[in-house]
Structures are given as structure tokens and as C-alpha cells.
Point group: C2
Chain length 212, copies 2
């Protein structure tokens, strides 16, 4: 991929849309669509064609005037931009319903996540096999991180333990944290954090229903 030198700061609004581009391009590639114009793709996605072209221009020039975009090529570009080609070693901390849902999520391994171990602090769960792995005590988390190359830690614990776990993950050398606890956690300059509060969606739905 050619990263264009003059245009390095990608607005966060653009980054937020990248997963959507990825999803649509993957679906189209799988359907065997060879080629598409920004107009047609943007209509499918309910955005303007200006926005689509503007967004893509932060990363390079991928289309051809008078022709449009080659779908499989643009899909590969999007995978590359997002860093999906890589395999990421992952640990899950917190094996309640939410944790189980996350590691069983079907897009998960498709996107290059490889679950290396799962941890919980409930002795009742120790040894139970989830995703082909026995649940380990959280007390062994740090040691595990020291002995294995782990890229991503997923937190699916209650709110009050989330930041503590995050700090163990950071000390243990992960590069990214995906946090599902209702309490946002903090990373640092080397560790990226993505806080996903899916409960917020319910409240937005309530709001919409009340004010519709």
C-alpha cells in the first residue's frame, strides 16, 4: 500500500467508518462483484459518494476515472489499512456470558484473532474448557503474558476490576486492549485501548423510542 506523504492525520470520523467499508467490501467480494463506482457503493451504504472518495483519499488512490474501483482490490486495501492480514495472539479475561459471546463471535478468527488463554477469578470455573482451553486463574495472567507473545487482551470483567486487569495486561506487554467492562480503561502511549460499551446502544434506543 502506498501511504501518501502529505496527508498523514486521518480524522477520527474517517477511522470510525473504516470497519463499515470493510464489511461492505468483504460482502461484495464474497458475492463476486468485480467492480463498483463510488456512487453505487455509497448508495448501498447510505453515505454520499463525496464522503467515500474523500475518506479513501486519506490512504491513497485506488480507483480509475471513468471506471470506478475493483472490488477485490479495494477490499484487500481495506484489510491492509486495518491491519487484518496479521494474526493476533489474544487472551480473554472474564469468562462470564459476555466473555463467552465474544470469543465465540464468528467474525473473530476470520479477522485473525487467535485465543491463547482464558482467565477468570472464580475458582468454580478453573479448568472448565472454553474454546478448547481450560480457564486459568487470573493470578496466573501476568506470568502467562511474560512467557507468551500476546498482542491483545480482552477485558470482560465487572467494572471494578477492569482498570486493574488493564494494568496487568499493559505490564505484561500487550499492544492493544479491547475493553467491554462498563468502566472505560486507560492505556498509554504504547498500548491502544478500545472501549466497547454495548449497553450504551440500548440507552440510545430508549431515547429514540421516547422522542420519536
Amino acid at each position: 500500500m502506498i501511504l501518501r506523504p502529505g496527508k498523514v492525520i486521518v480524522p477520527s470520523a474517517v477511522i470510525r467508518r473504516l470497519p463499515m467499508y470493510y464489511r461492505y467490501l468483504r460482502a461484495m467480494t464474497e458475492k463476486g462483484v468485480e467492480r463498483i463506482s463510488s456512487k453505487a457503493l455509497s448508495e448501498e451504504m447510505n453515505i454520499t459518494s463525496s464522503q467515500l472518495r474523500q475518506d479513501l483519499s486519506y490512504f491513497g488512490e485506488f480507483g480509475q476515472q471513468g471506471y470506478g474501483y475493483k472490488v477485490p482490490e479495494l477490499y484487500r486495501v481495506m484489510c491492509d489499512i486495518l491491519g487484518i492480514e496479521k494474526q493476533y495472539g489474544t487472551v480473554l479475561v472474564g469468562v462470564g456470558n459476555l466473555g463467552r459471546a465474544i470469543i465465540n463471535y464468528d467474525g473473530f478468527s476470520k479477522r485473525g484473532l487467535e485465543v491463547m488463554a482464558v482467565f477468570d477469578n472464580k475458582p468454580l470455573l478453573y479448568g472448565e474448557v472454553v474454546c478448547g482451553m481450560p480457564i486459568k486463574p487470573v493470578s496466573q495472567l501476568y506470568e502467562f503474558l511474560c512467557n507468551n507473545m500476546v498482542d491483545i487482551g480482552i477485558i470482560a470483567t465487572p467494572a471494578k476490576s477492569a482498570q486493574d486487569i488493564a494494568e496487568v495486561l499493559i505490564k505484561g506487554g500487550v499492544k492493544g486492549i479491547w475493553n467491554f467492562a462498563p468502566q472505560p480503561v486507560l492505556g498509554n502511549e504504547h498500548v491502544v485501548v478500545e472501549n466497547t460499551h454495548f449497553g450504551d446502544g440500548l440507552l440510545k434506543l430508549f431515547y429514540g423510542m421516547k422522542h420519536n
Copy 2:
């Protein structure tokens, strides 16, 4: 609550922040905090105090000059704005790992959701008890909606069935749809849809890790 007449169109950026306000105010109310200034609250939340006051001003005047805000009062206001005081009858469609995680989510009943029935289309699952209810075949969904007052339908099916299920829910008279399928679904002028693609968070994390 006093809705201020001149200022009716609430920007979507503001609506997106309401769940965050709700979370922080609930946590503070539970901790017994009586009073807080926009400065202190905004610092806790990593936003500016201007933004906090500006956001609240769309809904009314809830503070006092020289004093700040009464936390429990502001919490109740936020619940009211979001429509949390109500009980919402709910059905879940799709009882895989994701569906199970959603209905077992602890903030769920706290926020007034009452699960009335759960549906799936896998005969193997029929009758299995989840959340105290036996799983019913999806073929009975429409009938159930006709015979019961259901406010919200939650979709946790694979992408390809999502829109079909949404249409049954709409015909059946729900007022809101919370969709977790990777395919966004469409509502109409009477039915609000909230699409939650939690997989997108993983891709944003990948992006951050690659470009950090």
C-alpha cells in the same frame, strides 16, 4: 422535566453522549455524591465543562450558579431524558452465544427491560430454558407479538436473517429494534432501530495498533 420550547433539535453528537452521562451520574449517585460542578464532572469524563453544560442546555436548566448540580437530581433527569423509568417488554430472536450474553447482561433489567420470550430457528434448541423461559421456534414469533404487548425486539441472528426478522418485528408492532447482526437493518418512521456492530470495535483496535 421541562422541555425548553425553542431548542428542539438535539444534535446527534449530544445524543451519543447521553449514555455516558447516565453512567457517570449513576455511579456517583450510588457512591453518595450529593453535588458536583460541571468542571469536576467533565474532568472525570475527559470532556470539557463547556461541552457538558452545552449538552445539558438542550434539555433544560438543571444547575445553580455558584453551586453546581445536585447529583441525584441530575441523575433522575438523565433517566427521564433517556426514558429509563419505563418497563419495556422485550423479545430476543437468536439464542446463540451473543443472544445469551445480551439477555444476561447485568445492566439490562436494571434499565427496565423485561424479557418476555426468546426465539430461535434451530429445532435442537426448542424448549431449552434460557433466562427462565423455554426457547420457542421463530415461526411462532409473529403470533406471540400479536398476543402480547412487546416494545422491543432484539436481533442476535446471523446477518442473512436479520432484515427478515426485523420485518416480522415491525409487523408485530414493536416500537424499537436493537440489532446485533453484522448486517444493519432498516426500521420505519414508527420503529426506531439501533444497530450495534460490536465487531467494529475490534477493527478500530487493529487500526490503532497498526498506526500507533
